[in-house]
Structure formats: structure tokens, C-alpha cells
């Protein structure tokens, strides 16, 4: 589904608006090794990690969107790299569990296989 469909249905702040790309799966996690293992150019990542280490997920692993949670304020480098790579950087007002729950519902409704 288009990233816009997700943004519309959940309370997220758009920090960086990227290119409109399709998202066909979602992965939530806080370990870089897990993230790079699962992430690809169609994956929305949800994570607590608000750190420069996420930059490479945009740059090397072509992730179209990263969603931070609980209103955290993204570090500068992350914002810059999202801008540079033209990818989405979102911040959800909800906690990890709730954010995932809401997005799960969106996918379920859309009936797109996750």
C-alpha cells in the first residue's frame, strides 16, 4: 500500500516527507542487526532507536520510511539523511505496542499481505 494510506490513518508527525513509495511490510525492532536483516526497500521500520545508527538503514538498505515513537525528537543526522535520500521520517505519538497495533489494523483492513 502507499505510505500515504498509513500516514492518513494514524497519528504521526511527518518530520520529513519523502518520495511516495509502496510499503508492503512492517518491521518493529530495536536491534540494528535485526533491522538490517528484515528491512528492504518496501519495509516500514518502527523503532525506539533515535540515533545516528539509523542513518545507514536509509542509505544502505533503502528503507522508504522509519517511524520513531512516543513523540521523540529525531536526532539531526537522521533528519538530514532522510531529506537527502528522500525517504519518510515519521514520529508517532503512541507507544511501540500501540503504534504497531494501529498499523497492523490498517494492513488488515487493506487486506494486503504483510
Amino acid at each position: 500500500m502507499n505510505i500515504q494510506d498509513i500516514i492518513k490513518s494514524i497519528d504521526v508527525e511527518i518530520i520529513v516527507r519523502g518520495e511516495e513509495r509502496d510499503v508492503s511490510k512492517v518491521f518493529a525492532g530495536d536491534r540494528i542487526s535485526d533491522l538490517i536483516h528484515f528491512a528492504d526497500e518496501k519495509t516500514l521500520l518502527i523503532t525506539h532507536l533515535n540515533h545516528i545508527s539509523l542513518v545507514q538503514l536509509y542509505k544502505i538498505f533503502d528503507v522508504p520510511a522509519i517511524c520513531l515513537i512516543t513523540n521523540s525528537e529525531p536526532v539531526l543526522e537522521l533528519v538530514e539523511s532522510a531529506q537527502e535520500i528522500k525517504a519518510y521520517l515519521l514520529v508517532s505519538s503512541l507507544e511501540m505496542y500501540e503504534t504497531c497495533g494501529v498499523i497492523y489494523k490498517i494492513f488488515e483492513k487493506d487486506n494486503t499481505p504483510k
Binding site: 536491534r31 536483516h37 528492504d40 540515533h51 545507514q56 544502505i60 538498505f61 543526522e77
Partner: protein, 526 residues
């Protein structure tokens, strides 16, 4: 070949991933498939972060060749104390600062392993080297261990001894051609041993020995027995070095280290290993198990064979000449080739000529074969040599019918181990005894190259995919029925006159290779 080299600093989290980015850029420009790039990136990124988090700093090199991408990651220490722990998922020694950033999941090396086709770790307190290879396309050579036995069909007089002796029934004699079924061949020496006319030989792309400079040779001990005079003494090694600039290293050096390592491994992992542990000394035995005894693969100790480890003990700028004792050693060097090593493989007969011509040292007397006071070796491992004995052992182990369970076993397809390779022409047991008694003296006279290392086998061995009748399962099933039908009309005497070792193999040849059924003498009679 395209290559690049980038350095990585310790603790440089800010720039973490930059090397990976650069390599990605190159690969993307070259139009490498994105799935391959992804695998390379996971491996390189994990390695890069490892350098930042764990090492004193290091460098990442990549080499793109026709069909593979090789990545070499080197650092200057402090080394991985226990590789077998480090490659376990979830095991991490990362500091708190790294964990806060989401690193230190203990998935670095396992992730590299998952995404590479070949992965070798070599670590000491002076540093760690990772050799990572990813193939662009899987081809038959990478999938299978293949044959390194060369064939000169015109020498064949059709005695058919080879087809019977081949342990995996990989040889056929068709009309005027001797054929080796490459993906069945385990590269043992048996056909070379048995052939009275010398049809079989080692397949070596010979580059010869360059003149000048320092030369390093890795040779089997029994080669010296064949110089006619049991020539290898500490004096001989010293003279070679001083007069000709030749440094000789007997392969035995690494065999010994491997035995000790595996001994330690068995002691420390006693509850987690499948007993008996099979020492990976003879590559042919390893291939044989992979081919015909897949359930026993887990018994093989996770180390590379000595010949593979040996060449890794020298720096890249040295050209190493290896004299193999059998095709399986060539296969070990070629199939799991250590990256970027210039290895020159020299035919045993040529090696003998070469050393004879050097005329170094006084020719020892004929009686130099005398040993006073010899010791009989006391080995902890059970040594089994010769095809039949090894086959019997593997079969009994598979069926759980061994009278007792030895802890460590040493298996060799040649009778007498490498001392019994067909090139040396010496009685193996006495030769072994001679060298075992001379060993300490010989060992001390090789020029030191620091602590000798053997390599842990990080990517586990997998059973080899056997011969497939057809890619298409429907066709394969039809062929199988066909083979069974053909087999029923054959006499079942397994005489071998048709050129196949058994009637069943002949039936297979009829179906798969359009061989005429009339090659069977009994069919013609009827």
C-alpha cells in the same frame, strides 16, 4: 578485476556505514543484482560495525571478479578469543555504549555467515581477518565439489579395475573413452593407485616455479622419502634455505596443530559434539562423507583441512607452491580457495624432479634409513586408513554398530594415509614410522613463521547434492522407472565388462547417457 580498500577507525560510530555505502555505490554502478547487493551490504555493514565496536581499527577490502565478490576485513587486534562462541547467535561482548545505539545484539558474525557463500575467520591477538565471498551466480562448480582427476583415455587398455575400485562409482569406460562423473568423484587417489597404465593423473594448471627470490613450499613429508635417500634432515632444510632461498614447510606442521586443536575442541565441547569426532585431515574423506554418508557430516570437526589452513599462515605477497598428495587436496585448495593467495600447485612428479636437480647437500648413504631406538606413536585418536576400512567404519557408524565409540578418529582413503599416496612409491607404514621419529628434528629446522594456525570452519559443511536424474521432478520420476525397467533385463552379475561398475549403474547410463544396451555381453549372447 575491480577492487577497493577502505580504512575504518575504532569507535567511529558517527561514520559507521560509510565504507558500506561506498562499496554499495560501486556495485550499483556495475549493475549487480539488488538481491546480491543486499547480501553484500548486510555482510559488509556488520563487519564494519564490528571493526568500530570491537577492534583497534582496521580496513575493508573488496574484490570483484567474474563470478564472485570477495570481501576481506582485517584489523590490528585484539582478536576474537573464542570464535566458536562468537559465531553463536546472541553472544555479544559489545560495550554498553554500543548497545544503546542498537548494536551488540550478538548477531554480527551470524548475519555475515547467513549472507555469505564462503566465510572464513582467522583470529589471533595480532588481529582478525574475515574472508567473505558471495557468488554472483551459483554454478555447478560452487555447488559441487568436482573432480580434479585428469584422464588420458588413449592409455586405457580396458582392464576395468578403476570402475570397481572407485568408492562412489564415478568412473565409466565407454567405447574408447574413460569418463569421470564429476559430481560424484570425491577426489581420492584410488583410480590413480589402481590403473596399471597411468590413465589418471592430477589435474593441475601448472604455472611452473619462478626463478629468483624467496620461495615457499608446502610439501608432504613422504615426498622426501621418494627423493630416494630419505633426505629430509635438519641439515637439508638449512642448506635449501641458505643456498637456494627455498623455505620448506612440511604439511605435517599443520596436521599436528589441527590434531591438538580438535583434541581441545572435543574436551571443551564434550557434551555438544557428536562422537566420534572425525578429524578433517584427508579432504577425500570429508567429500566422501558429504557425498555418501550425509547423516555423518555432523561428526566432522569444524576446521578446515590442513592444506587449506597452511596457506593462510603466509602473507599475501609470498607465492606459495603446494605439492599435493592427491586430487582431493587440489580440490580443497580450489573449491574453498583462500582468497587472494597466490597458490601455485605443483605436480608431485615435477616436484621430485625439481628437488633432485637442485642437488643440495651431500647425498646421504643408502643406510640412512636406519632408526635406532624408535618410538611407536601413541595417538589418542583411532587411525583408520584405506578405502575398505574407512567404508566399513562409516557404514558401522551410520548403523550404530561400532563395538565402542572412539572419541576422535582419523580417516584416510589411502592405505597408510598420505604416506601411501601413489606418487611416492614407498611402503607407507615404515615411511611413517621413520618420519614420526624424525619429526621433532625436522619441525625445529623449518624457519619459524610464528604461531601456526588452523582455521575454524565457520560455514558448516553441508551434504553434497547427489546426482540428479533431471531438474524436472516429473521427468526424473519417469527416468527412475525407466532405469528400474532396464535394470530388470540386465543379468545382475555386476561384471563390469560394459564399462559401468554395476548393472544398476549401467541401466542408469542407458537411460541418462544413451549408452547402447549391447555393451552388455550377456544381452548379446541371448
Amino acid at each position: 578485476m575491480i577492487s577497493g580498500s577502505y580504512s575504518v577507525k575504532r569507535g567511529d560510530y558517527i561514520n559507521g556505514g560509510q565504507v558500506s555505502s561506498k562499496i554499495k555505490e560501486v556495485l550499483s554502478k556495475l549493475g549487480i543484482a539488488s538481491e546480491i547487493i543486499r547480501r553484500v551490504m548486510i555482510a559488509v555493514y556488520e563487519a564494519e560495525m564490528n571493526l568500530i565496536i570491537h577492534s583497534y581499527g582496521g580496513e575493508i577490502q573488496f574484490f570483484l571478479e567474474d563470478n564472485r565478490i570477495d570481501i576481506i576485513v582485517k584489523d590490528t587486534g585484539p582478536g576474537i578469543p573464542r570464535i566458536e562462541l562468537a559465531i553463536k547467535e546472541g553472544y555479544s561482548t559489545a560495550p554498553e555504549e554500543a548497545r544503546e545505539m542498537g548494536f551488540g545484539a550478538g548477531m554480527g558474525l551470524p548475519n555475515i555467515q547467513k549472507n555469505s557463500d564462503l566465510f572464513v575467520i582467522h583470529s589471533s591477538s595480532n588481529g582478525t581477518v574475515l574472508n567473505i565471498s558471495i557468488y554472483l551466480k551459483m554454478t555447478i562448480e560452487h555447488e559441487y565439489i568436482h573432480s580434479f582427476v585428469g584422464v588420458e583415455s588413449e592409455k586405457c587398455k580396458k582392464c576395468m579395475q578403476c570402475i570397481k575400485v572407485c568408492p562412489t562409482r564415478a568412473i565409466r569406460v565407454w567405447e574408447d573413452k574413460v569418463h569421470i562423473i564429476s559430481n560424484r568423484c570425491i577426489n581420492c587417489n584410488q583410480c590413480i593407485h589402481v590403473c596399471p597404465t597411468g590413465v589418471f593423473k592430477l589435474e593441475i594448471d601448472n604455472r611452473g616455479i619462478k626463478e629468483g627470490n624467496k620461495k615457499v613450499f608446502i610439501v608432504p613429508l613422504p615426498m622426501f622419502a621418494s627423493l630416494g635417500k630419505y633426505k629430509i634432515t635438519s641439515d637439508y632444510l638449512r642448506l635449501l634455505r641458505e643456498e637456494k632461498g627455498i623455505n620448506l614447510y612440511p604439511l605435517m606442521l599443520w596436521e599436528e596443530v589441527l590434531k591438538n586443536k580438535v583434541h581441545e575442541y572435543v574436551l571443551s565441547e564434550q557434551n555438544n559434539v557428536a562422537l566420534p569426532v572425525i578429524l578433517p585431515l584427508c579432504p577425500a574423506v570429508v567429500y566422501w562423507i558429504q557425498t555418501e554418508y550425509p547423516s555423518l557430516v555432523k561428526h566432522i570437526a569444524p576446521y578446515l583441512t590442513p592444506i587449506q589452513s597452511a596457506i593462510d599462515n603466509f602473507t599475501n605477497d609470498i607465492e606459495i607452491t603446494v605439492v599435493p598428495s592427491c586430487p582431493s587436496q587440489i580440490c580443497a585448495l580450489k573449491v574453498e580457495e583462500n582468497l587472494n593467495k597466490k597458490v601455485n600447485i605443483l605436480d608431485p612428479f615435477e616436484a621430485l624432479n625439481y628437488f633432485r636437480k637442485l642437488e643440495v647437500g651431500a647425498l646421504p648413504n643408502e643406510e640412512s634409513y636406519e632408526l635406532s631406538n624408535y618410538n611407536v606413536s601413541k595417538s589418542d585418536s583411532v587411525v583408520i586408513t584405506g578405502l575398505e576400512s574407512v567404508r566399513m567404519f562409516l557404514m558401522s557408524l551410520e548403523k550404530k554398530q561400532l563395538p565402542f565409540m572412539p572419541k576422535i578418529v582419523e580417516l584416510y582413503t589411502c592405505r597408510g594415509g598420505c604416506y601411501g599416496a601413489p606418487f611416492w612409491g614407498k611402503e607407507p607404514e615404515t615411511t611413517r614410522l621413520y618420519f614420526e621419529n624424525k619429526w621433532q628434528e625436522i619441525k625445529q629446522s623449518s624457519e619459524s613463521i610464528g604461531e601456526l594456525k588452523v582455521q575454524f570452519r565457520v560455514t558448516g559443511l553441508k551434504p553434497r547434492r547427489g546426482i540428479r536424474l533431471d531438474e524436472n521432478i516429473q521427468k526424473a520420476m519417469r527416468k527412475l522407472t525407466d532405469i528400474e525397467q532396464k535394470n530388470r533385463i540386465l543379468p545382475g552379475r555386476d561384471c563390469g565388462i560394459c564399462g559401468a561398475p554395476t548393472c544398476l549403474d549401467f541401466a542408469e547410463d542407458i537411460v541418462l547417457n544413451n549408452i547402447d544396451v549391447k555393451h552388455c555381453p550377456y544381452i548379446i549372447k541371448e
